[in-house]
């Protein structure tokens, strides 16, 4: 079977993010860029499915500037077979991302798409659901377990919902979005990194796809979050409980 895994280049989650003084974006100097952590989990899941089902192929897809090659090479070094990069210097909103991916799906015809549940930069948690709708496919978001039927025609997915775990079933092709506990992504091995250099990485200028990517959600400006003042240090548990009772009046 063919599995498509999507990759977004994002600032390392440990990076401290600052808003530019004019509110037009974030300060990108000295930022370390990585694969979106939830996408790493998605790639890992695609690789595990491939390892279980002989003859499978894992294709990576990303959208962004030429530098995104770095993250795609990392994904290829983890074990993906080839990669597609849709080239654009613009930041797309989730619906535009879904439209571009839908176009890629038209030609690639994967049986399964695995995506991160959300990208840790814009935190929308939307592209997977939107892509599923555009394709008319079933979706299983926030997955913590994915099981494919032996005939590879359907899947059963455990989802992390508010009150516990929900299980849904759906025929393939389908979309799964990965939550934190789906798996622990592997590191790229040295031989993997060597091999990745020779794997196919196809670039497609976004204009060639003929997709409407005008943003429906436009970011007007960015602001830093409101600051919360630090309070006081207390010396003992006794004093803490006393203050919570008499001053804060919360216990």
């Amino acid at each position: 079977m063919k599995i498509l895994a999507t990759v977004k280049r994002v600032p390392d989650p440990e990076t401290s993010i600052k808003v530019k003084p004019d509110g037009s974006g974030i300060v990108t100097d000295n930022i370390k860029w990585v694969i979106n952590p939830f996408d790493e989990i998605a790639i890992e899941e695609a690789l595990r499915i491939k390892e279980k089902h002989a003859g499978s192929e894992v294709v990576l897809a990303s959208i962004g500037a030429k530098v995104v090659q770095e993250q795609l090479r990392t994904g290829l070094a983890m074990g993906a077979d080839r990669a597609i990069l849709v080239l654009t210097d613009d930041a797309l909103d989730p619906l535009a991302v879904a439209r571009v991916l839908a176009k890629i799906v038209e030609t690639e015809k994967p049986d399964l798409i695995v995506m991160g549940k959300q990208a840790i930069d814009d935190d929308s948690n939307a592209a997977g659901q939107m892509l599923a709708e555009l394709l008319g496919w079933p979706q299983a978001t926030f997955a913590s377990k994915v099981e494919l039927a032996a005939d590879q025609k359907s899947m059963t997915v455990t989802r992390e919902v508010d009150g516990g775990l929900e299980t849904v079933g759906a025929p393939l092709p389908a979309i799964v979005t990965a939550d934190l506990r789906l798996n622990e992504p592997r590191y790229a091995s040295l031989p993997g990194i060597m091999k990745a250099r020779k794997k196919e990485l196809k670039e497609i200028p976004i204009a060639d796809l003929g997709v409407d990517v005008a943003p429906k959600a436009q970011i007007v400006k960015m602001d830093p979050p409101p600051k919360r003042q630090a309070g006081k240090k207390v010396e003992s548990v006794e004093q803490l409980v006393e203050l919570l009772h008499t001053e804060a009046k919360v216990i």
Binding site: N125, G163, L165, P224, V250
Partner: protein, 322 residues
């Protein structure tokens, strides 16, 4: 014009607090956009819920009732909601960013070709909304182009709506094309607990990697949690390390909470965790590292070994109550 439609999520025949937040956000949006606020109740046999929704000041409650909609499924619910939006000329669809809201609304937006903003914290009269990005390091003002538009609301951004009016209920038939609806509900394994729900609790006690293992959550943290009648939460690091299940995770990629009292134990306060709790009224931090970032947002900070301080605190609270 400018009518708003609130998706009224329900569980076990009740509206959780998160749905009352959606009603409040819907009324706020309708007032600012100059339209009426309606709600939609989707399910199987939901007469009572539809009538109840109307008491929260919803002008009309559209009841979409079908055995096919007994369990939430993204494809069927999207189809049902899209029909209501189109038939009733809705301009803005609102739900709270619960697991269901997050699953459903983007799909609905794609179906409607609508602009979508996730997890918003403010609605402005000029039609823009404010939403956190980069784990709460950035608040973006977002303009949604065209109509309709779809918005999910952060569960802590609005107070629960009050029962301040009685609207009418209108049953809306929808045509569900079974050929296109392929998802199946298999089961729900609910975490049953005597403790309050994390997102509704008055007091939340969260543990981090400082607890060292899952056993210590049980033996050290839980006695304090229960003494306070609190809900238990955890940092992503503690979930990552396998100490506790993911449904306890508080943070940008977990649950967002704003209780009256939030007690952070043995957690450093990574930005993505702070994003999920810094709207709490009173924050307490207990950590042996005086430099931990959690102290920068804490109203009361105690630099101490949690293995000593937490049992002491449990005893002190017990003494206070007796």
């Amino acid at each position: 014009m400018g009518d708003v439609l609130v998706f009224a999520e329900h569980l076990h025949g009740k509206f959780p607090k998160t749905t009352l937040v959606a009603f409040a956000a819907g009324k706020d949006a309708a007032a600012k956009f100059g339209g009426a606020c309606h709600a939609v109740v989707v399910g199987s046999g939901v007469d009572a819920l539809a009538s109840e929704a109307a008491t929260y000041g919803m002008k009309t409650v559209f009841q979409v009732d079908s055995p096919r909609l007994e369990h939430y499924l993204a494809d069927a619910y999207t189809a049902a909601l899209a029909e209501v939006v189109k038939a009733k000329g809705i301009e803005t669809v609102i739900a709270t960013a619960t697991a269901t809201g997050k699953d459903l609304l983007p799909r609905l937006a794609a179906r409607l070709g609508a602009g979508f903003a996730a997890d918003i914290t403010e609605i402005h009269a000029d039609g823009t909304v404010q939403r956190p990005m980069y784990a709460g390091n950035v608040f973006a003002t977002v303009k949604l182009v065209g109509s309709p538009r779809v918005i999910s609301v952060r569960a802590t951004a609005f107070d629960a709506a009050a029962k301040d009016g009685a609207g009418s209920v209108e049953k809306v038939p929808v045509s569900l094309d079974d050929g296109k609806l392929t998802m199946k509900f298999v089961g729900l394994e609910e975490v049953t607990s005597d403790r309050p729900v994390l997102t509704e609790a008055r007091i939340v006690v969260s543990g981090g990697r400082g607890l060292k293992n899952g056993e210590n959550f049980k033996t050290v943290l839980e006695p304090l949690v229960d003494e306070l009648g609190a809900a238990m939460g955890a940092s992503r690091a503690a979930v990552d390390a396998g100490f506790v299940p993911n449904d306890l995770q508080v943070g940008q990629t977990g649950k967002v909470v704003a209780p009256e009292l939030y007690i952070a134990v043995g957690l450093s306060g990574a930005i993505q965790h702070l994003a999920g709790m810094k709207d709490s009224k009173v924050i307490v931090a207990i950590n042996k590292d005086a430099e931990a970032p959690i102290f920068q947002v804490a109203d009361y900070g105690l630099v101490a070994d949690l293995f000593k301080a937490v049992p002491e605190m449990k005893d002190a609270v017990h003494k206070l109550k007796s």
